[in-house]
Amino acid sequence: MKFKKIFWIVLLSMLALPLGIGLWMWNKPHRNVQEEKPVFVGSSSDFSRHIHSANDSVRAKMMDQVIELHGQVAEFDRSGDSAVSLKLVAVEVDVMCSFIGKTAVELPALLPNQKVQLRGIFTGYQEGIPGFDMLPTITLNRCALIQNKSNK
Protein backbone atom coordinates (compact mmCIF):
# COMPACT_ATOMS: atom_id res chain seq x y z
CA MET A 1 0.00 0.00 0.00
CA LYS A 2 2.78 2.33 0.96
CA PHE A 3 4.66 1.34 -2.18
CA LYS A 4 1.61 2.18 -4.31
CA LYS A 5 1.36 5.61 -2.70
CA ILE A 6 5.02 6.35 -3.33
CA PHE A 7 4.69 5.08 -6.90
CA TRP A 8 1.84 7.48 -7.65
CA ILE A 9 3.61 10.40 -5.98
CA VAL A 10 6.73 9.76 -8.04
CA LEU A 11 4.74 9.29 -11.26
CA LEU A 12 2.70 12.45 -10.80
CA SER A 13 5.83 14.40 -9.91
CA MET A 14 7.50 13.15 -13.07
CA LEU A 15 4.54 14.31 -15.11
CA ALA A 16 4.01 17.58 -13.26
CA LEU A 17 7.61 18.72 -13.53
CA PRO A 18 7.94 18.76 -17.33
CA LEU A 19 4.39 20.05 -17.62
CA GLY A 20 5.20 22.90 -15.28
CA ILE A 21 8.42 23.69 -17.12
CA GLY A 22 6.58 23.57 -20.44
CA LEU A 23 3.88 25.91 -19.24
CA TRP A 24 6.45 28.29 -17.79
CA MET A 25 8.40 28.35 -21.05
CA TRP A 26 5.25 28.80 -23.14
CA ASN A 27 4.27 31.78 -21.04
CA LYS A 28 7.80 33.10 -20.50
CA PRO A 29 7.56 36.85 -20.08
CA HIS A 30 9.27 39.28 -22.40
CA ARG A 31 12.48 40.87 -21.19
CA ASN A 32 12.24 43.67 -18.70
CA VAL A 33 14.74 46.23 -20.00
CA GLN A 34 14.41 48.31 -16.85
CA GLU A 35 15.85 45.46 -14.79
CA GLU A 36 18.51 44.25 -17.21
CA LYS A 37 22.03 45.64 -17.08
CA PRO A 38 22.75 47.56 -20.27
CA VAL A 39 25.85 46.74 -22.32
CA PHE A 40 26.15 50.37 -23.43
CA VAL A 41 25.36 53.53 -21.50
CA GLY A 42 25.83 56.89 -23.14
CA SER A 43 24.35 59.57 -25.33
CA SER A 44 22.37 58.82 -28.45
CA SER A 45 25.07 60.63 -30.43
CA ASP A 46 27.85 58.48 -28.95
CA PHE A 47 25.92 55.30 -29.65
CA SER A 48 25.05 56.33 -33.19
CA ARG A 49 28.71 57.17 -33.91
CA HIS A 50 29.82 53.86 -32.40
CA ILE A 51 27.38 51.78 -34.46
CA HIS A 52 27.67 53.83 -37.66
CA SER A 53 31.46 53.43 -37.77
CA ALA A 54 31.49 49.80 -36.62
CA ASN A 55 31.79 46.73 -38.79
CA ASP A 56 29.16 43.99 -38.99
CA SER A 57 30.74 41.82 -36.31
CA VAL A 58 30.75 44.66 -33.74
CA ARG A 59 27.13 45.45 -34.56
CA ALA A 60 26.26 41.74 -34.27
CA LYS A 61 27.69 41.67 -30.73
CA MET A 62 25.41 44.53 -29.72
CA MET A 63 22.38 42.97 -31.41
CA ASP A 64 19.59 41.98 -29.04
CA GLN A 65 21.37 43.65 -26.11
CA VAL A 66 19.96 46.28 -23.76
CA ILE A 67 21.22 49.78 -24.49
CA GLU A 68 20.76 52.82 -22.27
CA LEU A 69 20.77 56.19 -24.00
CA HIS A 70 20.25 59.77 -22.99
CA GLY A 71 19.46 62.39 -25.54
CA GLN A 72 17.02 64.91 -26.86
CA VAL A 73 13.73 64.15 -28.52
CA ALA A 74 13.71 64.84 -32.25
CA GLU A 75 10.23 63.44 -32.96
CA PHE A 76 7.47 61.86 -30.88
CA ASP A 77 4.60 59.95 -32.46
CA ARG A 78 1.86 58.11 -30.62
CA SER A 79 -0.30 55.77 -32.69
CA GLY A 80 -3.09 54.45 -30.52
CA ASP A 81 -2.63 53.87 -26.80
CA SER A 82 -0.07 51.13 -26.92
CA ALA A 83 2.51 52.17 -29.50
CA VAL A 84 4.90 55.09 -29.48
CA SER A 85 7.76 55.92 -31.77
CA LEU A 86 10.46 58.26 -30.51
CA LYS A 87 13.35 59.60 -32.56
CA LEU A 88 16.40 60.84 -30.68
CA VAL A 89 18.76 63.54 -31.84
CA ALA A 90 21.96 61.89 -33.08
CA VAL A 91 24.85 62.43 -35.44
CA GLU A 92 24.47 61.24 -39.06
CA VAL A 93 22.04 58.52 -37.97
CA ASP A 94 18.40 58.38 -36.89
CA VAL A 95 17.89 56.57 -33.59
CA MET A 96 14.33 55.21 -33.58
CA CYS A 97 12.93 53.94 -30.29
CA SER A 98 9.74 51.91 -30.12
CA PHE A 99 7.57 51.69 -27.00
CA ILE A 100 4.76 49.15 -26.81
CA GLY A 101 2.25 47.90 -24.27
CA LYS A 102 2.36 49.22 -20.73
CA THR A 103 5.46 51.37 -21.23
CA ALA A 104 3.76 53.07 -24.17
CA VAL A 105 0.53 53.67 -22.28
CA GLU A 106 2.41 55.17 -19.32
CA LEU A 107 4.69 57.30 -21.47
CA PRO A 108 3.84 60.99 -21.18
CA ALA A 109 3.73 63.15 -24.30
CA LEU A 110 7.27 64.30 -25.00
CA LEU A 111 8.21 67.56 -26.66
CA PRO A 112 10.92 68.19 -29.25
CA ASN A 113 14.31 68.91 -27.66
CA GLN A 114 13.15 67.45 -24.35
CA LYS A 115 15.92 65.51 -22.61
CA VAL A 116 15.18 61.87 -21.89
CA GLN A 117 16.95 58.78 -20.69
CA LEU A 118 15.72 55.41 -21.86
CA ARG A 119 16.60 51.76 -22.31
CA GLY A 120 15.75 49.52 -25.18
CA ILE A 121 16.86 46.42 -27.06
CA PHE A 122 19.07 47.08 -30.08
CA THR A 123 17.39 45.33 -33.01
CA GLY A 124 19.05 46.71 -36.09
CA TYR A 125 21.14 49.10 -38.13
CA GLN A 126 20.09 49.96 -41.67
CA GLU A 127 22.05 52.11 -44.10
CA GLY A 128 19.02 53.65 -45.73
CA ILE A 129 17.28 53.04 -49.01
CA PRO A 130 19.37 53.71 -52.16
CA GLY A 131 17.95 56.48 -54.32
CA PHE A 132 16.18 58.13 -51.39
CA ASP A 133 17.71 60.70 -49.11
CA MET A 134 17.48 58.73 -45.87
CA LEU A 135 19.92 58.75 -43.01
CA PRO A 136 21.04 55.36 -41.68
CA THR A 137 18.73 54.08 -38.94
CA ILE A 138 19.35 52.45 -35.58
CA THR A 139 16.32 50.75 -34.06
CA LEU A 140 15.65 50.03 -30.41
CA ASN A 141 12.62 47.99 -29.33
CA ARG A 142 10.75 47.44 -26.08
CA CYS A 143 11.97 50.78 -24.85
CA ALA A 144 11.25 52.13 -21.40
CA LEU A 145 11.82 55.64 -20.11
CA ILE A 146 14.32 55.88 -17.27
CA GLN A 147 14.24 59.63 -16.75
CA ASN A 148 12.22 62.42 -18.22
CA LYS A 149 13.73 65.88 -17.93
CA SER A 150 11.88 68.95 -19.09
CA ASN A 151 13.55 71.71 -21.04
CA LYS A 152 13.29 74.09 -18.09
Binding site: M96, I129, D133, T137
Partner: protein, 187 residues
Protein backbone atom coordinates in the same frame (compact mmCIF):
# COMPACT_ATOMS: atom_id res chain seq x y z
CA UNK B 1 23.52 102.88 -71.89
CA UNK B 2 22.94 100.10 -74.43
CA UNK B 3 25.42 97.94 -72.54
CA UNK B 4 23.53 98.54 -69.28
CA UNK B 5 20.24 97.56 -70.98
CA UNK B 6 21.83 94.33 -72.32
CA UNK B 7 23.24 93.52 -68.91
CA UNK B 8 19.80 93.99 -67.32
CA UNK B 9 18.16 91.79 -69.97
CA UNK B 10 20.81 89.11 -69.49
CA UNK B 11 20.27 89.18 -65.71
CA UNK B 12 16.50 88.89 -66.19
CA UNK B 13 16.99 85.89 -68.49
CA UNK B 14 19.22 84.20 -65.94
CA UNK B 15 16.70 84.77 -63.16
CA UNK B 16 13.87 83.47 -65.36
CA UNK B 17 15.89 80.34 -66.20
CA UNK B 18 16.72 79.74 -62.55
CA UNK B 19 13.10 80.17 -61.49
CA UNK B 20 11.91 77.78 -64.21
CA UNK B 21 14.45 75.18 -63.11
CA UNK B 22 13.39 75.52 -59.47
CA UNK B 23 9.68 75.19 -60.28
CA UNK B 24 10.37 72.16 -62.50
CA UNK B 25 12.49 70.51 -59.80
CA UNK B 26 9.89 71.15 -57.10
CA UNK B 27 7.22 69.61 -59.27
CA UNK B 28 9.31 66.50 -59.87
CA UNK B 29 10.29 66.10 -56.18
CA UNK B 30 7.60 63.58 -55.26
CA UNK B 31 9.50 61.41 -52.84
CA UNK B 32 7.87 60.26 -49.64
CA UNK B 33 9.57 58.33 -46.84
CA UNK B 34 9.01 57.03 -43.34
CA UNK B 35 10.85 55.02 -40.69
CA UNK B 36 7.73 53.95 -38.83
CA UNK B 37 5.94 51.86 -41.42
CA UNK B 38 3.94 48.93 -40.11
CA UNK B 39 4.41 45.38 -41.37
CA UNK B 40 2.54 42.51 -39.75
CA UNK B 41 1.98 38.87 -40.52
CA UNK B 42 -0.55 36.23 -39.55
CA UNK B 43 -0.35 32.46 -39.58
CA UNK B 44 -3.17 30.10 -38.79
CA UNK B 45 -2.18 26.63 -37.63
CA UNK B 46 -3.61 23.74 -35.67
CA UNK B 47 -1.86 24.53 -32.37
CA UNK B 48 -2.20 28.30 -32.25
CA UNK B 49 -2.62 31.35 -34.45
CA UNK B 50 0.59 33.33 -34.70
CA UNK B 51 0.83 37.00 -35.41
CA UNK B 52 3.52 39.64 -35.07
CA UNK B 53 3.98 43.28 -35.95
CA UNK B 54 6.93 45.49 -36.81
CA UNK B 55 6.33 49.23 -36.51
CA UNK B 56 9.75 50.37 -37.64
CA UNK B 57 9.75 49.50 -41.31
CA UNK B 58 11.59 51.88 -43.62
CA UNK B 59 9.52 52.68 -46.66
CA UNK B 60 9.96 55.08 -49.52
CA UNK B 61 8.10 55.91 -52.72
CA UNK B 62 9.11 58.07 -55.68
CA UNK B 63 5.94 59.03 -57.56
CA UNK B 64 7.85 60.62 -60.43
CA UNK B 65 9.73 57.38 -61.15
CA UNK B 66 6.93 55.05 -59.88
CA UNK B 67 9.46 53.30 -57.65
CA UNK B 68 9.10 52.14 -54.09
CA UNK B 69 11.03 50.18 -51.51
CA UNK B 70 10.66 48.69 -48.03
CA UNK B 71 13.21 47.45 -45.52
CA UNK B 72 12.18 45.57 -42.38
CA UNK B 73 14.48 44.40 -39.58
CA UNK B 74 13.49 40.84 -38.69
CA UNK B 75 14.35 41.30 -35.02
CA UNK B 76 11.89 44.18 -34.94
CA UNK B 77 8.85 41.87 -35.11
CA UNK B 78 7.04 41.83 -31.79
CA UNK B 79 5.08 38.76 -30.68
CA UNK B 80 2.70 38.39 -27.79
CA UNK B 81 4.68 35.40 -26.53
CA UNK B 82 8.43 35.61 -25.92
CA UNK B 83 8.93 31.93 -26.79
CA UNK B 84 7.36 32.45 -30.22
CA UNK B 85 9.58 35.46 -30.83
CA UNK B 86 12.68 33.48 -29.91
CA UNK B 87 11.67 30.56 -32.15
CA UNK B 88 10.86 32.94 -34.98
CA UNK B 89 14.31 34.53 -34.89
CA UNK B 90 16.40 31.48 -34.04
CA UNK B 91 14.66 28.54 -35.72
CA UNK B 92 12.70 29.99 -38.63
CA UNK B 93 14.15 33.26 -39.86
CA UNK B 94 17.77 32.83 -38.64
CA UNK B 95 17.81 36.57 -38.17
CA UNK B 96 21.49 36.59 -37.19
CA UNK B 97 22.29 35.49 -40.76
CA UNK B 98 19.42 37.24 -42.53
CA UNK B 99 18.72 40.36 -40.46
CA UNK B 100 16.28 42.03 -42.81
CA UNK B 101 13.59 41.57 -45.43
CA UNK B 102 13.37 43.95 -48.39
CA UNK B 103 11.13 44.83 -51.27
CA UNK B 104 12.24 46.88 -54.28
CA UNK B 105 9.79 47.47 -57.08
CA UNK B 106 7.66 49.62 -59.25
CA UNK B 107 4.12 50.90 -59.18
CA UNK B 108 2.27 49.45 -62.15
CA UNK B 109 -0.78 51.30 -63.32
CA UNK B 110 -3.16 51.00 -66.24
CA UNK B 111 -3.29 54.75 -66.81
CA UNK B 112 -1.24 57.73 -65.64
CA UNK B 113 -1.99 58.50 -62.01
CA UNK B 114 -2.98 61.96 -60.88
CA UNK B 115 -2.08 63.39 -57.51
CA UNK B 116 -3.52 64.15 -55.01
CA UNK B 117 -5.80 61.14 -55.10
CA UNK B 118 -6.32 57.53 -54.10
CA UNK B 119 -5.63 54.73 -56.56
CA UNK B 120 -5.69 50.97 -56.72
CA UNK B 121 -2.33 50.00 -58.13
CA UNK B 122 -0.20 46.90 -58.56
CA UNK B 123 3.27 46.63 -57.08
CA UNK B 124 5.76 44.54 -58.98
CA UNK B 125 9.24 43.82 -57.77
CA UNK B 126 11.66 41.67 -55.84
CA UNK B 127 10.79 40.50 -52.35
CA UNK B 128 13.76 39.17 -50.44
CA UNK B 129 13.22 37.16 -47.25
CA UNK B 130 15.61 34.77 -45.55
CA UNK B 131 18.22 35.39 -48.25
CA UNK B 132 15.87 34.32 -51.07
CA UNK B 133 14.67 36.84 -53.65
CA UNK B 134 11.46 36.31 -55.62
CA UNK B 135 9.53 38.42 -58.11
CA UNK B 136 6.02 39.25 -56.84
CA UNK B 137 3.01 41.20 -58.09
CA UNK B 138 0.54 42.38 -55.45
CA UNK B 139 -2.39 44.82 -55.43
CA UNK B 140 -2.13 47.91 -53.25
CA UNK B 141 -3.90 51.16 -52.43
CA UNK B 142 -1.86 54.34 -52.75
CA UNK B 143 -3.27 57.63 -51.47
CA UNK B 144 -1.52 60.97 -51.76
CA UNK B 145 -2.86 64.03 -50.03
CA UNK B 146 -0.82 67.13 -49.36
CA UNK B 147 2.49 66.24 -47.72
CA UNK B 148 1.52 62.64 -47.02
CA UNK B 149 1.37 59.40 -48.99
CA UNK B 150 -0.30 56.30 -47.56
CA UNK B 151 0.24 52.82 -48.86
CA UNK B 152 -1.60 49.69 -47.80
CA UNK B 153 -1.43 46.16 -49.13
CA UNK B 154 -2.08 42.60 -48.11
CA UNK B 155 -0.65 39.50 -49.71
CA UNK B 156 0.32 35.91 -48.93
CA UNK B 157 3.56 34.04 -49.35
CA UNK B 158 4.55 30.39 -49.08
CA UNK B 159 7.26 29.90 -46.49
CA UNK B 160 8.84 27.13 -48.54
CA UNK B 161 9.41 29.57 -51.42
CA UNK B 162 11.81 31.48 -49.19
CA UNK B 163 13.52 28.48 -47.63
CA UNK B 164 11.69 28.91 -44.32
CA UNK B 165 11.10 25.42 -43.03
CA UNK B 166 8.13 24.26 -41.05
CA UNK B 167 8.96 22.37 -37.88
CA UNK B 168 7.90 18.81 -37.08
CA UNK B 169 5.09 19.99 -34.82
CA UNK B 170 3.49 21.96 -37.70
CA UNK B 171 3.01 24.94 -35.44
CA UNK B 172 2.86 27.35 -38.34
CA UNK B 173 0.91 27.17 -41.58
CA UNK B 174 2.69 26.84 -44.92
CA UNK B 175 1.26 30.14 -46.14
CA UNK B 176 1.34 33.36 -44.15
CA UNK B 177 -0.52 36.59 -44.74
CA UNK B 178 1.49 39.82 -44.73
CA UNK B 179 -0.09 43.24 -44.22
CA UNK B 180 1.72 46.50 -44.89
CA UNK B 181 0.42 49.90 -43.80
CA UNK B 182 2.64 52.89 -44.13
CA UNK B 183 2.12 56.61 -43.90
CA UNK B 184 4.98 58.51 -45.51
CA UNK B 185 5.87 62.17 -45.40
CA UNK B 186 7.29 64.22 -48.24
CA UNK B 187 11.08 63.93 -48.21
Amino acid sequence: MAQSFNQKRSMKNRIATLLTALIFTAGMAQKFTTKTGQVSFFSHAALEDISAVNKQALSAVDLAKSELAFVVQIRGFEFEKKLMQDHFNENYMHSDKFPRATFNGRIQKAAPLTWPGSHQVELQGKLEIHGVSKEIRVPATLTVKGEEAQLSLKFSIKLADYGIKNDKVKNISETIEITVKTSMKKA
